[in-house]
């Protein structure tokens, strides 16, 4: 049964990840009183890219071509170990905890950066440099958040954290939890490349993560893009299921329960995407050096969560 549910979760994420991105783009355009692309545009883009010829820089090593396949498969692995549509561990659930998942995300980021440096493109180098400098400061926020959750739940297992948040109203309404929610939300905007941190345009001034895959084309670019969609979907799902709205995720093994929750999860995601789109269409982009101030505030929230815990012991 667990294998069936694992396969179901994998298919769910892989299929709906581009839809979430399409919905985000459509809503953003609608909020700006434009017609906007179809919500299925990411699917059309992927189809087009898979049918295009790949162009590889002459100077690049074989690693450049391998990395998109490698990172995509690592994203698929992450899909199997995080609580997306179940609050009980699936077949591969016990393999990693939050820190382990973070390390896999880190490994994917490192591989992408090495591959982009391998392309010897100035823009890819620019993207790598920016991503590394922002990542070096935003990663400690994520680690602090996981430490706080570790203090609350005495574990780093995302499933256990979900169960505690679902069943304990004391922790859910605690000040510690809400400081963590704000910190993670701010970090989520950084990790998913949303405004006010990154604007996705053809202008290199605003490029951060986007510049890394500039030298890719064809199927490799499609996999990089699809992997990016899955990353967004996973992070948003973790934010919903472990932080903001951990309710209704099935805690007992039941196929019908999981199927019903899959629909509920899409509804939850829809509301989160509406918030993201509203932010995207109302906030302007920060200058690059101002990003560090934003990260400092996110760090302040994560740090205050720990301090609240020490001050109150989680009783408030």
């Amino acid at each position: 049964m667990l294998y069936v549910l694992s396969a179901l979760q994998l298919i769910f994420v892989v299929i709906f990840a581009p839809l979430a991105v399409g919905l985000f783009h459509t809503l953003t355009e609608k909020f700006e009183s434009k017609v906007g692309p179809s919500v299925f545009q990411p699917y059309y883009d992927l189809y087009k890219l898979f049918n295009k010829q790949s162009v590889i820089p002459k100077v690049a090593s074989p690693l450049f071509q391998i990395v998109p396949y490698l990172t995509f498969s690592m994203y698929l692995f992450l899909t199997l170990v995080l609580p997306i549509i179940t609050a009980f561990p699936l077949s591969f659930g016990p393999v990693v905890d939050f820190i382990g998942g973070g390390l896999v995300f880190g490994a994917i980021g490192a591989l992408k950066k090495i591959a982009s440096l391998d392309s010897r493109s100035n823009y890819a180098h620019l993207g790598t440099s920016r991503t590394s400098s922002i990542g070096a400061l935003s990663e400690p926020i994520i680690v602090l958040i996981f430490i706080t959750f570790g203090v609350i739940s005495h574990t780093n297992n995302p499933y256990v954290i979900n169960n505690i948040m679902q069943t304990s109203s004391q922790w859910y309404f605690s000040l510690v939890h809400w400081f963590v929610v704000f910190a993670f939300f701010m970090a989520l905007l950084v990790e998913t490349g949303k405004l006010p941190i990154e604007s996705h345009s053809n202008n290199e001034f605003g490029m951060i993560d986007q510049a890394i895959k500039l030298e890719y084309s064809g199927a490799e670019l499609a996999l990089m893009k699809w992997g990016g969609y899955i990353k967004q979907f996973l992070l948003m799902s973790v934010f919903l299921n472990d932080f903001l709205m951990p309710f209704w995720v099935p805690m007992k093994i039941s196929l019908s329960g999981v199927l019903i929750y899959s629909i509920i999860h899409l509804v939850k995601l829809f509301f989160l995407i509406v918030i993201f789109a509203a932010i995207q269409s109302t906030i302007s982009k920060y200058k690059l050096f101002k990003n560090f101030e934003y990260i400092a505030v996110a760090f302040a929230f994560a740090f205050l969560a720990i301090l609240v815990y020490f001050t109150t012991g989680g009783s408030v």
Partner: protein
């Protein structure tokens, strides 16, 4: 009330950090106004719970003077001179200021727990001390007269929080502080703005920052 005190206290700390983040004077003043209203609501609830008229009067004075009048006065002055809306200079970089503010919060926690906690014995007692340090830090980290005034009032908000919660019979002593604030803000801002209106540039530069 312990829970409300801790929630309002951490809200105040968060708002002080938000003030460090902002470069637009209007936003800083509005944030200060919100923080004053939060303290006013807390004092009102505390006054109702303890059936203390002094606290209720103090709450009303806080809302009217610190929540409405002083921020309104500063905003009105800023509206006249649009170039004053944005603070150009910053002595300490914003990101560093936020981190230093956090260090102050931790330092106050340690100081409180190693000194006062043994006989006051209130879990969130370090919050007003942290807020006091943040207000003082806001004064020294900026060289704009208005932000420095706001920093001064943030420091005094911490006294309100501390006094209002720990010594509910004491507020009328603090009340004198409100009047002094009022005189300070209205008089000094008035003098600065008058000098700016008269285009006395050399004196304006001198008054841009409060120096001892």
């Amino acid at each position: 009330m312990k829970e409300a005190f801790i929630i309002v206290g951490f809200l105040e700390i968060t708002l002080a950090i938000f003030m460090q983040w902002q470069i637009y004077l209007k936003k800083i003043v509005t944030t200060f106004s919100i923080s004053s209203y939060a303290i006013s609501i807390f004092l009102a609830v505390d006054g109702i719970v303890l059936n203390n008229t002094n606290l209720l009067v103090l709450s009303a004075l806080t809302a009217v003077i610190r929540g409405f009048f002083i921020p309104h006065f500063i905003r009105k002055k800023l509206n006249k001179e649009c170039y004053l809306e944005r603070e150009i200079k910053a002595i300490i970089p914003v990101a560093a200021s936020i981190v230093v503010s956090l260090v102050f919060v931790v330092a106050s926690y340690i100081v409180y727990h190693s000194t006062l906690y043994s006989f006051i014995n209130i879990p969130g007692g370090s919050i007003p001390i942290a807020l006091l340090f943040q207000g003082i830090f806001l004064i020294i980290s900026r060289n704009n007269a208005f932000v420095q005034l706001v920093g001064y009032m943030v420091a005094e908000n911490s006294l309100f929080l501390f006094g209002g919660y720990l010594f509910p019979e004491l507020p009328f002593i603090i009340e004198g502080g409100i009047l002094l604030d009022l005189i300070g803000v209205v008089m000094i801002s008035g003098i600065i703005m008058k000098l700016r209106e008269e285009n006395v540039s050399s004196i304006v530069d001198e008054f841009e920052e409060f120096k001892g």
